[in-house]
């Protein structure tokens, strides 16, 4: 076992990998149709594509989670057969998932040792620590080995995941959107390090991404998938962003973005004063959030995930009790109860709508009726519900908001992510809106849906709504917001009009400086 550690640094070089003619179907659906990619040894290769384009299917076939219907994988020119993730691991192919796979209550060192397939049943920690220290000496970056993983920052966890692959001597790395949980600074540092290791021929990286900026800055080559087909590949330095995005979205007609209408001076509508709330473990999640939003204004809240943004949205939506502070709308105190949502015209588009805003097993029509089921025309006598008016309203909104569904009676969980979000949008935006609370509205959606949904939010603003937009996508905030606020450590640490700030300044405040 110590032999593993001592032989490790020079055991393997960066391999090359090609997947040829990969095909995978699920029932009648072709998730992957005859896709081939070549990743040269020591290159940093980007795999681009929208959600559902087949990127995950492709890497899952390479990793052995799925077995491809057709196609071959060759490693350093030799054909290999990968039937399970264990085989992939034996061939030195490793993957870093979007969500961390570390054990939070163990230390970094413990996480590394237990990840080994040959971890002994009784661990000689003195010996292992020596081996680990020797291993860390050879690495271009470090993490504190004795720190509990739960106390590490997202960037450090990501580094630890990568160290884990190196420790296991997996020199072909697949990274699934590795920067989605990092600050812009952390992301650039991380990618820079990986880029350096690729250049020195220590590792080969295949990175799933949809951030063009990162691909242009750090990657050597790229391949693009759309609807399960390879639609393009090329040199990441030479190709333009326009070319890449055309390959990704094809000729899909993208709805014209709603233009920003400028308002005359408007009054403050929503005011948050000293809001405090606790997380599920009873620790302070938000501590004294103060913010004022005018009618016809979008305030974007940026921040690294986990700095209290979701607790803030939950508190405003009534999903989390406030421990202190007041929400006022038009000068009146607002408590998130059913009657008040209507009286104050407060609407919301929470993140992950399937989890937060719908009942997956109820029908599309029923889900669309959540706001109106207890009022006429659906309800008479205050309690008796009629299906007819509910269905009629649902059919109208399904048509108006272009929700693709087999029938209003289909369970909403059978819809794609974009259509679930459209159905929620139809429910929340079809009336008069004074206050709109939005959280990561476009997370995981395709291009056309993103454009559509952002337009709807902009239109609500133009009609005079006060919009609070919480987003982990800085580009989204830069595109939509009139003012930017940064949340860090449970409070709002920075507020500025959009024209008076830039990506760098916001990034620094996100990191807590």
């Amino acid at each position: 076992m110590s032999a593993l550690a001592s032989e490790m640094p020079l055991a393997r070089k960066a391999p090359s990998l090609s997947a040829t003619g990969m095909t995978k179907t699920f029932g009648s659906f072709t998730a992957l149709g005859d896709v081939s990619i070549d990743v040269a040894a020591g290159s940093f290769h980007a795999l681009l594509g929208e959600n559902g384009a087949g990127k995950s299917t492709l890497v899952k076939c390479i990793m052995g989670f799925y077995s491809a219907d057709k196609g071959q994988v060759t490693l350093d020119g030799q054909e290999i057969s990968i039937r399970s993730p264990r085989d992939a691991r034996a061939h030195g192919i490793g993957m870093v998932y979007q969500h961390f796979t570390l054990v939070p209550c163990l230390t970094a060192a413990e996480n590394l040792v237990i990840s080994r397939a040959d971890a002994p049943s009784v661990i000689n920690w003195v010996k292992e620590r020596k081996a680990l220290d020797a291993f860390m000496e050879t690495m271009p970056f470090r993490v504190p080995l004795d720190a509990q993983v739960s106390s590490l920052s997202a960037g450090e966890k990501q580094k630890l995941e990568i160290l884990k692959l190196l420790y296991l001597d997996q020199r072909f790395m697949i990274l699934d959107e590795p920067t989605s949980v990092l600050t812009p600074g952390e992301a650039d540092e991380m990618l820079g390090l990986l880029h350096g290791m690729c250049d020195r021929g220590e590792i080969t990286v295949l990175m799933i991404s949809h951030k063009f900026r990162e691909v242009k800055t750090f990657c050597d080559r790229f391949s693009v998938l759309r609807r399960g087909r390879l639609t393009g590949e090329g040199d990441a330095k030479l190709a333009t962003v326009e070319e890449m995005s055309r390959m990704m979205i094809g000729d899909t007609e993208v709805r014209e973005r709603a233009a920003r209408v400028s308002h005359a001076e408007t009054k403050e509508v929503l005011e948050l004063a000293g809001l405090c709330a606790e997380d599920d473990a009873g620790l302070p999640a938000i501590q004294g959030v103060n913010l004022k939003i005018k009618g016809g204004e979008i305030v974007g809240i940026a921040g690294v995930s986990g700095n209290g943004q979701s607790a803030l949205v939950e508190a405003l939506a009534g999903q989390r009790p406030l421990t202190d502070g007041e929400i006022t709308i038009h000068g009146e105190i607002f408590t998130p109860k059913r009657g008040n949502f209507d009286r104050f015209k407060v609407f919301g588009l929470p993140e992950e709508p399937l989890k937060n805003a719908t009942v997956p097993r109820m029908s599309v029509a029923e889900n669309i009726a959540f706001r109106s089921f207890d009022k006429p025309p659906i309800t008479s006598l205050g309690w008796w519900m009629s299906k007819g008016p509910m269905r009629a309203k649902a059919e109208e909104l399904i048509a108006r908001y272009r929700v693709k569904t087999t029938s209003p009676d289909a369970p909403i969980e059978t819809l794609s992510g974009g259509n679930v979000q459209r159905a929620v949008l139809a429910r929340e935006l079809s009336g008069d809106v004074d206050v709109l609370i939005v959280a990561n509205p476009c997370f995981g959606l395709d291009f056309a849906s993103v454009a559509d949904i952002r337009s709807q939010i902009m239109e609500a603003r133009n009609r005079g709504a006060a919009v609070l937009l919480v987003s982990e996508d800085l580009d989204e905030i830069l595109e939509l917001a009139d003012r930017v606020a940064v949340m860090s450590g449970g409070t709002i640490s920075y507020v500025a009009p959009i024209e008076a700030t830039d990506r760098n300044t916001i990034g620094q405040h996100m990191a807590g400086h």
């Binding site: 693709k404 029938s407 289909a410």
Partner: protein
């Protein structure tokens, strides 16, 4: 050319496909029925190993449960409490809770009914006043008991399955405590019981049958609760809460109140079953109340897919199983508990069958494939 055939074929398929609602209904019927058949097959193997004839067994179930007017009335008699305890599981299930405390609520309901009857009977209050008071006492006791488990769930985060199960044991112990203590009728020598309410206070049979009125109460409640859960704003709000409590909170629904009301309704149903056991069957409260109706009710509700109306036929089916127990014991020389083995087996197969929902290809609506 090939493409065109494929396309026209798929359009034809879409046109032939039944509606989403029909498919879901078909699924909800086919899977439990298939589970019953599979359980019967497995049980047949069990019988063959014991060198008994499965054919005789299932024939006896049929004759013992439905074969004659007498046996069918026996079945209905046993189905009556099962409808009520089935509802006691089904209603909280609609709001997302797994409440298995029906047994305790039934026992406590029976005890309360018998206890409140003692002073009323000895004071000579007429039956038409005494019986409603007994019924209300039983429903209140059961309702508060299960309602307490619901309250613990929402306001203190206590797992309702564990708490309702443990509350059942407390309820049974409480009954024993009173029946063997201060409420004991000195005349009940071998089997400690409360004072008999007397024949004048017993609820009679539905005219023309030997089945007591508990059956009618069960049927009416099943219909009323079905309407409540499917056609009213209360039921809609409860289903939203049961399907996704986070979404319910975001809609400003009073989740805590809904949970407590649903669990109180459930407890009241089981408590009412206890009332009928005392007022119509035993005439007093004693250990006979602990007959497992509460637990069989869980099985009934499961097989009925938590649909109040469907509880009725399933309860009758299980009533028949129980009714046939005696015949099987006499004719096949097998212990009474044989039927319990079959019930347990059905439960396990049924739980397994839950995993097949949404996985049987011909029962699925066509998904919209818009991976753009």
């Amino acid at each position: 050319m090939a493409d065109m055939t494929v396309q026209s074929l798929s359009i034809a398929q879409i046109k032939r496909r039944p509606s989403v609602g029909t498919l879901r209904l078909a699924e909800a019927i086919i899977i439990p029925v298939a589970a019953l058949i599979v359980s019967a097959l497995i049980f047949s193997i069990f019988l063959l190993v014991l060198d008994k004839s499965p054919i005789t067994f299932f024939t006896l179930i049929w004759t013992g449960g439905f074969g004659s007017s007498f046996s069918f009335q026996n079945t209905l008699q046993r189905a009556a409490p099962l409808i009520l305890t089935g509802l006691a599981f089904a209603v909280p299930a609609r709001i997302g809770l797994t409440m298995i405390g029906g047994e305790g609520a039934l026992v406590l309901g029976g005890l309360s009914a018998a206890a409140i009857a003692i002073p009323l009977v000895s004071a000579g209050v007429p039956a038409f006043l005494t019986l409603p008071v007994m019924a209300i006492a039983a429903m209140l006791a059961g309702g508060l008991w299960i309602g307490f488990a619901g309250w613990l769930r929402y306001y203190r985060g206590v797992n309702e399955t564990i708490s309702s199960l443990l509350l059942s044991y407390i309820a049974i112990a409480t009954m024993n405590f009173f029946v063997e203590g201060i409420l004991r009728d000195p005349a009940s020598a071998n089997k400690p019981s409360t004072m008999p309410i007397g024949d004048a206070y017993r609820i009679g049979a539905i005219p023309g049958t030997q089945v007591h009125w508990g059956l009618a109460a069960g049927l009416i409640l099943a219909v009323v609760l079905h309407i409540l859960m499917t056609r009213t704003t209360f039921g809609f709000a409860a289903r939203v809460t049961g399907g996704n409590a986070r979404a319910a909170l975001a809609q400003g629904l009073p989740v805590g109140k809904l949970i407590v009301i649903c669990t109180m309704i459930a407890g009241a149903c089981a408590g009412l079953a206890g009332f009928y056991e005392v007022a119509a069957v035993h005439g007093q409260a004693n250990a006979s109340l602990v007959a497992g109706y509460g637990f069989t009710g869980i099985l009934v509700a499961f097989l009925a897919r938590q649909v109040p109306l469907a509880v009725i036929p399933v309860a009758i089916l299980f009533g028949a199983l129980n009714a046939a127990g005696g015949v099987i014991q006499r004719r096949m020389g097998m212990p009474d508990a044989t039927v319990l083995v079959l019930q347990g087996l059905i439960f396990v197969v049924l739980l397994t069958s839950e995993t097949f929902y949404g996985r049987i290809p011909f029962l699925q609506p066509k998904r919209v494939e818009d991976r753009t």
